[in-house]
Amino acid sequence: MGEFNTVGLEDIIEAFSKREAATVEAVPKMLKAGADVLVEAQKAEAMAMGLNETGGFINSIKATDVKGSDTEKYVEIYPQGRAGHGNDRKGDKSKVRYATIGFVAEYGTSKQQARPYMTTANEKAHEKVVEAQRNIWESETGK
């Protein structure tokens, strides 16, 4: 029966282990750094599209904490919380969710032109988000 020997395999295993530990540390920081950039971009775009009638909507655009499992991490960015008013036109007194306001702004209705602040901001900020994440990766892993 044939056999083979390896030299230096332990070093490679150790290097991979170190890289894995660095990645576990770096990924949540990368997500937060990217989210900070994207939140500001979405706020700026919402402002530019006139979605600042009260200021509440713009301030509601936030990132969640880092979520996920050991193998997958993510953050969500969306308008969070509720406005201090309902849909007055429909006589609805319940406080409307900022996410609903954002959805209507993003996609419009048959009577209201869309103001797609989110798609536009995401597209404009794409490279800046990647750059912010890369900076964290490089500082955390020394690469």
């Binding site: 959805f103 996609y107 419009g108 209705t109 048959s110 009577k111 209201q112 032109q113 869309a114 797609p116 798609t119 536009t120 597209e123 404009k124």
Partner: protein, 108 residues
């Protein structure tokens, strides 16, 4: 061919922004340019440009066949479909809304 002409070749009227016609049809498109960026620069000049649009199919009924037709005519016109986003239903009017994000590359 303009985006309006491309969409209307699928047999429905198309209007920028919001549909303002007096008699609103049971199905129509709206479109809106979101972004225009240079795609290629050479000799300090913009050679190609990239435009992103949000197209929305409004439809009072089963829109699947029209959506297929829309995708077909967009692809035939060389338009890139980035995404077909979540459809929603307007209870007040009976319209289904189907947002489609597209990109057009233009050579100067």
């Amino acid at each position: 061919m303009s985006i309006k002409e491309i969409l209307e070749s699928a047999g429905l009227p198309a209007q920028r922004g919001v549909y303002t016609g007096r008699d609103k049809p049971d199905a129509y498109y709206t479109f809106l340019r979101l972004l225009g960026t240079p795609a290629l620069n050479a000799d300090d000049e913009e050679k190609d440009s990239r435009e992103m649009y949000r197209v929305t199919l409004f439809h009072k009924g089963d829109f699947e066949a029209q959506l297929d037709k829309t995708k077909e005519i967009l692809k035939a016109a060389g338009v890139y479909i980035n995404s077909i986003d979540a459809e929603s239903y307007e209870v007040e009017t009976g319209y289904w809304l189907v947002p489609i994000t597209i990109e057009i590359l233009k050579e100067e």
